[in-house]
């Protein structure tokens, strides 16, 4: 699903990532850990084409990012689902419109869009909020809308950058259940987090720890959290 070979990225003279090599198989659940500034978000942004690959090689869902042209980025993103800490949903549009957006850009038939949107909204327990504008929803509900939007396209890969960072413990656990459900259906998930509670929810997940832009061995406390 993902193959990185000596991937590096710098902002001016500051190296955010240095010589990252990584291989992720289809259906894996990966936790990306590390302190703030370790390079987690930069790596995520490289994976969904928000930053160009200038040094090293990266292949994501069959797309060679180091050779990717600008006009091919939308095609890459159609294979992915991306979830952010700050939700990135349209507050003045309804739940239905936000979720349908991901399918509308693919020029799908209205009836297909309707069927798939309603199914995912039901699966995430948002059916009684279908036509409510998103700014009226709680944080947890807004994040569920963002997850619904990323999942409605049946992505091969989900990239989640601190998806529970703005939520309380209970809501975070509920959302992790949602992610796990999709994972059991074969979706590959890469989730950036530094929450111990979140790490504990998927004990069989692989942990990739970043420090100073390099992949390191996960610290002992992370491994013990996973084990517990």
């Amino acid at each position: 699903m993902i193959h990185l070979n000596r991937l590096s990225y710098s902002f001016g003279s500051n190296w955010a990532l240095k010589d990252i090599s990584l291989h992720v198989e289809k259906g894996e659940f990966i936790f990306l850990t590390g302190h703030s500034g370790a390079g987690k978000t930069t790596l995520m942004r490289l994976l969904y084409g928000a930053l160009p690959v200038k040094r090293g090689q990266a292949t994501v869902a069959g797309y060679e990012l180091h050779k990717l042209k600008r006009k091919q980025i939308p095609d890459l993103r159609r294979e992915l689902g991306v979830v952010f800490q700050d939700f990135k949903i349209l507050p003045n549009r309804s739940v239905y419109e936000n979720v349908a957006l991901a399918l509308t850009v693919r020029s799908m038939a209205k009836s297909t869009i309707d069927k798939r949107v309603r199914a995912i909204i039901r699966a995430l327990g948002l059916e009684n909020k279908t036509y409510i504008k998103c700014h009226k929803l709680s944080g947890g509900e807004q994040q569920r809308v963002a997850i619904a939007r990323s999942m409605v396209v049946n992505p091969k890969l989900i990239l989640a950058d601190e998806p529970t960072g703005n939520l309380d413990f209970e809501l975070s656990m509920h959302l992790m259940d949602v992610f796990k459900q999709f994972h059991t259906h074969g979706t590959t998930i890469i989730m950036a987090t530094h929450s111990r509670e979140i790490l504990r929810t998927v004990p069989d997940a692989k942990v990739i720890h970043l420090d100073g832009g390099k992949i390191c061995e996960p610290p002992e406390h992370i491994l013990s959290e996973m084990a517990s």
């Binding site: 969904y48 006009k71 980025i73 939308p74 095609d75 890459l76 993103r77 159609r78 991306v82 990135k88 949903i89 349209l90 003045n92 549009r93 957006l101 991901a102 850009v105 693919r106 020029s107 939007r149 396209v153």
Partner: protein, 293 residues
């Protein structure tokens, strides 16, 4: 595909309602700038009209032979009044000419003794033609002159070739002054309207970012925004022209008194279309640039 394009255009129109205040303020700004531009064009147009009326004309005076039957020269006056480019025709029968002569002499002599078959003055017509830009005026004038001279019963035709040079010079001057001014005005309108629409699109920055994130292609994002930009430009410039038209009707005769006699006229259709088209295109272009940024 075509239905999708129409759907996106429809979405562009509907989306204007998503940020009503931002769009209302943008529309007001576009309207005001368009109104200023239209007002400037209106002033230029009227000043130019007035100046051309007095300085962009060529006069020719035709004298018919003495004793020509009134029926003959009356018929020719009718035909002459339909000539292309004719702005004004003033005709004088021998009696009219005598009357004007008497008035010119403060009525000291009514020349009654000259009437009744003794009037030596000839029937005349004074024709004023507007000089057309782009026409070879010397040739046009000599052609017209020879045509007029060939008319039956015509004795002679007077005209001043210097008038042609003067009119040509004046037209050249107005053209060389007006076009740079209009160009500068266009630049100012483009910058102000363009930046206003670009700034108004900042309210939709998040939406554009999200659309890119879910895999929307460039045209899918741009088409509704271009539609919105074009609609803002077209509506703003239409309101501006409508307001100006209302004002023109209201103030039409405000300068129409002695000695000015200036009747304010509205912008010609080609200038109206140019303004509407330019502001609409600026709206579209600035939306295009905003998304690109």
């Amino acid at each position: 595909m075509i239905s999708l394009i129409f759907r996106l255009i429809g979405r562009g129109i509907r989306d204007l309602g998503l940020h009503p205040w931002a769009n209302i303020f943008t529309l007001v700004a576009v309207t005001m700038v368009s109104l200023l531009a239209a007002l400037f064009m209106f002033t230029l147009h009227n000043v130019n009209q007035e100046l051309l009326k007095t300085r962009g004309q060529v006069q020719m005076q035709i004298f018919w032979q003495s004793g020509t039957a009134a029926e003959a020269y009356n018929r020719q006056w009718d035909k002459l009044s339909k000539l292309d480019g004719l702005k004004e025709i003033r005709t004088f029968t021998p009696d009219d000419a005598l009357k004007h002569l008497s008035e010119a002499l403060n009525g000291e002599d009514d020349f009654a003794w000259m009437k009744e078959q003794n009037n030596p003055l000839q029937p005349t017509a004074l024709l004023a033609f507007s000089v057309k830009a782009g026409v070879e005026n010397d040739r046009w004038a000599t052609d017209l002159l020879s045509r007029l001279k060939e008319l039956p019963y015509v004795d002679k035709v007077h005209y001043n070739p210097l008038q042609i040079d003067l009119a040509k010079g004046w037209i050249g001057l107005t053209r060389s002054v007006i076009w740079p001014i209009i160009g500068f005005l266009g630049l100012v309108v483009a910058l102000v309207v363009g930046n206003t629409i670009r700034l108004s699109l900042m309210t939709r920055k998040d939406e554009i970012e999200i659309l890119y994130l879910v895999g929307a292609k460039q045209w899918f994002i741009r088409l509704p925004l271009l539609t919105g930009g074009a609609l803002l430009g077209l509506t703003g410039s239409s309101i501006a022209l409508g307001t100006l038209y209302g004002a023109q009707i209201f103030f039409e005769d405000v300068l129409n008194f002695p000695p000015l006699f200036i009747k304010l006229t509205f912008l010609p259709p080609d200038q109206c279309i140019a303004l509407l088209g330019a502001v609409t295109l600026i709206g579209m272009f600035s939306s295009f640039v905003a998304v690109r940024g």
